[in-house]
Every structure is written in structure tokens, then in C-alpha cells.
Symmetry: C2
Subunit: 213 residues, 2 copies
């Protein structure tokens, strides 16, 4: 719900991170102002749609000028909740877990990796990106002490279901699932699945038979 008390379409929320990402790159290039037209060209999204999306939340632009990059970043961060810090945990200290833990963007958007868990005793105690790898058996303790609500699942598939259950049982409410296991969760838990194979298969459809996108 927004200030007009209207339900926001999913598509709108899905596009906001894309706008934000684009705006942050523009900011890095010292661009101060951007029109919906330009933002549209950069993100591949229709300019009218960008304006439509934004006015769900307020009038952030200046007619005849465009949007101030800095202001729009603040507004979108505020809408998404990315203006606050969020403690997260990563399950799995393999390549994937390490890649995610090292991701610059997390820090830039206020996500703080509080712990990385693994059940491999050899890895426990080592560090990834200055974060110590903890034993999976300490999951419960850490989640409760740090009041963690967001978890990233980056284990091998075999371990995924058990870890997901542990996260949910301890009160985690958002799970980013990077395994190909299907996670069954109660309605108040948000599970977001991300799988390179699904992404590839999706694009493959449009590729293999030269269907237009």
C-alpha cells in the first residue's frame, strides 16, 4: 500500500531496484539529472512506464527538467526500505556463498552479512571477506542474538531443505534461495528463488527458435 492506499503492482516493485541500480551508476558518473527518456533507454524500460511507476509513490520529478539523481535514489531507497541497515546470514561457505558474501552491492545497500555458516569443520573458523565462518550448529544462537530476519541459502542442494527449515524455525522471514530445491514455507515467509539454470532456460526459449521477445 502507498500513500494513496492503492495496491502497487508487483511489476512496479520489481523495476524499482533496476532504476536504483541505474541511478547509482549515473551518480558515480557525476550525472545530476536524468529524464525518464534517458533512464528508459538505459534500463530498457518504457519512459511512460517509469513515470507511471514513480508517481505511485509521489511526485519526484521536475517538469521540463527531469529527475534529480540524488533525490530519486533517496526516494527509491526509502520506498524499498534500503535506507536502513539489515543484518543477514549466508548459509554455505562454498564458492557461491563466498561470491555473495563478497558482493559489494550488499554493503552499498545496507545489507550486513553477520555470519556465514557451513557444516564443513575444516572451513569453520576461517574468514571470507573478514567474516568468520561459523558452524551450522550455531545457526540458532546467532539468528536469535542478532535478530536476523533475512537469510541467503547458498548450500549444495542436498543440504538446502534442512537449512531452510532451520532458518524458518528460528524466525527468518525472507529467504533468498540460490539452490534448485523447492522450499515450502508458511505464508508469512517470503521465499525468492534465483537459479542460473532457470534464467538460462528462459532466455533459451527466445534464442533457439528466433522468437521475438
Amino acid at each position: 500500500m502507498n500513500k494513496f492506499n492503492k495496491k502497487i503492482p508487483y511489476g512496479v516493485i520489481e523495476r524499482l531496484p533496476a532504476y536504483l541500480n541505474c541511478l547509482m551508476q549515473l551518480k558515480k558518473e557525476s550525472v545530476t539529472t536524468v529524464s525518464s527518456k534517458r533512464l528508459g533507454r538505459l534500463t530498457g524500460i518504457n519512459a511512460a512506464q517509469i513515470r507511471r511507476d514513480l508517481i505511485y509513490f509521489g511526485k519526484f520529478g521536475i517538469r521540463g527538467v527531469g529527475y534529480e539523481v540524488h533525490t530519486l535514489i533517496k526516494k527509491i531507497q526509502d520506498i524499498l526500505g534500503a535506507d536502513k541497515f539489515h543484518n543477514i546470514v549466508v548459509i554455505g561457505a562454498g564458492n557461491l556463498g563466498a561470491a555473495i558474501s563478497n558482493h559489494d552491492g550488499l554493503k552499498n545497500h545496507g545489507f550486513i552479512v553477520k555470519a556465514i555458516f557451513d557444516n564443513n569443520k575444516e572451513k569453520v573458523g576461517r574468514e571470507i571477506n573478514d567474516i568468520e565462518i561459523s558452524d551450522l550448529s550455531d545457526l540458532k544462537k546467532v539468528i536469535n542474538e542478532e535478530k536476523i530476519k533475512i537469510g541467503i541459502l547458498a548450500t549444495p542442494s542436498e543440504a538446502a531443505r534442512k537449512s531452510a527449515k532451520a532458518l524458518i524455525d528460528e524466525g527468518v522471514r525472507v529467504i533468498l534461495n540460490y539452490t534448485s530445491i523447492i522450499i515450502e514455507a508458511p505464508k508469512d515467509v517470503i521465499v525468492y528463488n534465483s537459479d542460473p539454470v532457470s534464467d538460462l532456460l528462459y532466455t533459451l526459449y527466445y534464442f533457439t527458435s528466433k522468437k521475438s521477445m
Copy 2:
């Protein structure tokens, strides 16, 4: 376009990999038949929608019985083009590149990683998952020799734009972009962006203010 010569909604194609993934898990559990109702419960997708999605491509079910798992897998693989082998390359031999190259699902769906590229001379010559790491300067040669049309971009952000350009210039037509860099590509190149931060930000919206999904 399908056999009825009607345009297939994007949403349908997006859901097919989810069905496929679910079906393959069912097959592993030796389930032979599944109803749209059960598939719906497992994937979180409305049963009517599953049936609707599938008949865009043909009548794959048996009234009163459901869908034969094995048959439906074949059909969906055929639709997506996942019944053939596809050579791919991965750019970036860091944690992310390694994680993707090691991903079981790739092999299961016919994707063969032909080469992993990196510009770090120390990594070149080593192996990940039995695939030798090649020097980025050999990209052109490999892509042309192996007629690679699919590339996965898993480099640090700084290197992404240059690598993307190289891929496109040499004829790659599908790019899975795992960096947060925006890639500008001609219309006949399909770029699919996947970024853990965008995924987190999206879920964050529904989480932070207890908005219903």
C-alpha cells in the same frame, strides 16, 4: 510463436523452468504422475494457470489422471530448447564463476561449459570442475572455434563492460549478466540480468512494511 501461431505471454515462458525443475524433483522421487493441483501446490502457482500455460503448446495431460511426469519433462524441454546441447562460456574465474561452472543443473539441462576465462595470469591454466581456465585474450578464438552463442558474465563489475562488448562482438547472442553493470546490447542480443542485491531489494519491500504480497 507456437503451433497455433499465437504469441506466448512472457509469464508463461518464465514459469516453464519452474515446472521443469519441480517435475525433475518429482521424477527423482519416483513420482510418475502429477495433477495440476499438486504441481500448483509445489510451485506456488495456480492450478488453472498451469493448465492454461501448457495448452499453449499442446494437450499433454490425461483427463481424470493428470500429467505423466516423464512425458511432461520431455515436452517442456522440447519447448524451451533444453533437449539439445548448448555450449557456453563463463567469463570470470572468481568465486561466482566457479560456483556457476560447478552448478549441477547446467549439465542436467544440456549446458556444457566449454571454457572459463580470466585475465589473472595466476589463474590461467588451473582447472575448475575439470575445465581449464583460459586467458581472456583467447576469448575470440574459442568463441569462433566452438561457435559459442551463450555467455555468462561473472566478472568483477569493473571488467564487465569490456567483457560484454567482446562477447557481443564475437557473435554471442545470449548473455546472462551476474554483474550489476548495465549492458547495452543490440536488439538481437538477449541480456538477462541477475543480481542478488536486486532480488533482496525486491523482497525487502514486502518485508519491511508488512505489505501483503
